[in-house]
């Protein structure tokens, strides 16, 4: 991943931000707000991943269009009938509502993608390790084992291929299933046998002998607190200003966006602005050399 200023903040700061961004995105139906959320999410995702996210963005487009078009089929409220499908009216209002829903869906997906890129597993553990120690240890162990098992699975596939027991393209489904199960079985043996060693290693290092503490890789700094306060303030403004509701059916009724909208935009731009600021500072400091 690229260097990103917001990702360097404490996991708590990151988490609270995404909680707000995704929470607002889910609930608010106002088209301007939805648009802002989509733009903010897409911008930050682009800054995070660069061209790599192009496929994801392009792949999402038809889905969103489809969703907008498909929704009015099940929502017949509305005054302006465009045409009828299967004897049911397809209304302009319902189409607008469908577009709004598709927008919400898109915003949610975008922010979740950003969330996945920023809140890596170790940040999650840092946040919840204290609250759910056993589960977070379990998650960490699973994350460690998955790459191992995938690699071993490939090893087994190769090994079986080299003695003529490989599963290829031209085998029947039954053969593939049987072959796959054989590999799965071998992999299970291997993994379970290894698990004994892992358990011994844990016990040898004192697992379960004392009340565990946790190593903290991240620390809340003054900057974190400041950003957190700023985020909470903006979020409070968004809620206090109101005017986020919008009605589509049976009649379109959209309030004019007020200063709450500005607060919302500022909130969503936080990570992108931080990213931009860092890039500028870096460019300036390089040019001084």
């Amino acid at each position: 991943m690229r260097s990103d200023a917001f990702s360097k903040y404490h996991p708590l700061t990151n988490f609270v931000f995404f909680l707000g961004a995704i929470g607002f995105a889910v609930v608010i139906q106002h088209p301007a707000y939805i648009g802002a959320s989509c733009v903010g999410g897409a911008l930050y995702l682009l800054l995070l991943k660069g061209r790599k996210c192009r496929n994801m963005l392009l792949g999402m487009l038809p889905l969103v269009v489809l969703m907008a078009a498909w929704n009015p089929l099940f929502n017949t409220y509305g005054e302006h009938v465009l045409f009828t499908v299967f004897g049911r009216p397809y209304t302009l209002e319902a189409l607008c509502y469908g577009m709004a829903i598709a927008g919400i869906f898109a915003a949610m997906m975008l922010w979740f993608s950003c969330y996945s890129a920023v809140l890596t597993s170790d940040k999650f553990i840092c946040l919840f390790g204290k609250l759910i120690p056993a589960l977070s240890l379990l998650i960490v162990m699973v994350l460690r084992m998955i790459p191992n098992l995938v690699r071993r699975g490939k090893q087994i596939l190769d090994a079986r291929k080299s003695i003529g027991k490989g599963v290829g393209e031209n085998n029947s489904l039954k053969q593939k299933l049987h072959g796959g199960m054989q590999v799965l079985s071998a992999l299970t043996d291997w993994a379970l046998e290894g698990s004994i060693v892992t358990a011994d290693s844990m016990r040898a290092r004192g697992y379960g002998t004392a009340r565990p503490t946790s190593f903290r890789l991240y620390h809340m700094t003054l900057q974190d607190w400041a950003l957190l306060a700023w985020m909470v303030l903006l979020a409070a403004l968004v809620i206090a200003a109101g005017g986020t509701g919008a009605e589509y059916t049976p009649q379109i009724d959209i309030p004019r966006p007020g200063w709450g909208f500005i607060a919302y935009c500022l909130y969503l731009m936080i990570p992108s602005l931080l990213h931009g600021k860092e890039a500028v500072q870096w460019a300036v400091s390089i040019s001084r050399i």
Binding site: V26, L73, Y97, A134, M145, I146, L187, S195, T198, A199
Partner: protein, 234 residues
């Protein structure tokens, strides 16, 4: 034991009804937020009792291995769209008990999304998979006689087709719909049916072929290393 009963009662009798009550007060699309919150709250008692039990190293590692296997199995069995994942979760519930089965399912869903992407579906997947493991444990954990391949396969097939699949479809329903209506719900479930059927077939087939062997392997491990004794001591 007492405390976990309290937590269960609290969740089901107070927390979830309260969420539902408050949720309906919201305007607009209250149902996605509310339903997701309810799903998360419903998982809390399981997690709480797992945490307070302070699982032993061997139990923890065994659950971890089964979770990792459930994720990795998608890579190993080279048939497109064929996911033995849920079958492995159910077998974990059968061998280690309903609660461990639930944890296996929930953690599998959560951890695998670190490799794909977390999304609005994460809590639903956790609940769906977790329920699969839990339910399998409830039915089979104490009934060794019922564990024949056909029984396991039928159980897997129908649980996925009728419970886990539709539960995952609910997530689609709540995230993509503009208005809750029976016709829209029917459309989502019908659209999801072929996928669920495929999933159910994969689960059933895995249970049929792999169910008994995996249970035997786990039993062997439990006997060989006295895992159950360790649990009783702890």
């Amino acid at each position: 034991m007492k405390r976990s009963v309290c937590i269960n009662l609290f969740t089901w009798l107070i927390l979830i009804p309260l969420t539902l009550f408050l949720g309906t007060r919201l305007t607009g699309r209250w149902y996605y937020l509310t339903s997701t919150l309810v799903i998360i709250e419903a998982m809390l008692p399981f997690f709480f009792s797992f945490e307070t039990r302070k699982p032993q190293a061997r139990e923890l590692v065994t659950i971890a291995v089964l979770c990792a296997l459930a994720v990795a199995s998608r890579v190993v069995v080279l048939i497109p769209n064929f996911k033995p994942t849920t079958a492995i979760i159910m077998l974990s519930g059968i061998a280690l008990g309903p609660e461990a089965g639930f944890v296996t399912g929930a953690v599998t869903a959560f951890a695998s999304n670190f490799f794909f992407s977390q999304g609005p579906w994460t809590p639903w997947q956790m609940m769906g998979y977790g329920f699969g493991g839990f339910f399998a444990g409830v039915i089979f954990a104490k009934r060794r006689a019922w564990r024949n391949p056909a029984g396991l396969a039928l159980f897997g097939f129908f649980t996925i087709l009728l419970v886990v699949g539709p539960l995952l479809d609910c997530c689609t329903l709540f995230t993509t719909g503009s208005r809750l209506s029976w016709s829209y719900a029917a459309a989502v479930f019908i659209a999801g049916f072929p996928y669920n059927l495929q999933h159910a077939l994969a689960c059933g087939a895995t249970m049929l072929v792999f169910g008994k062997p995996l249970l035997a392997k786990l039993d062997r491990l439990i006997v060989k290393y006295g895992m159950m004794d360790a649990r009783k001591e702890g």
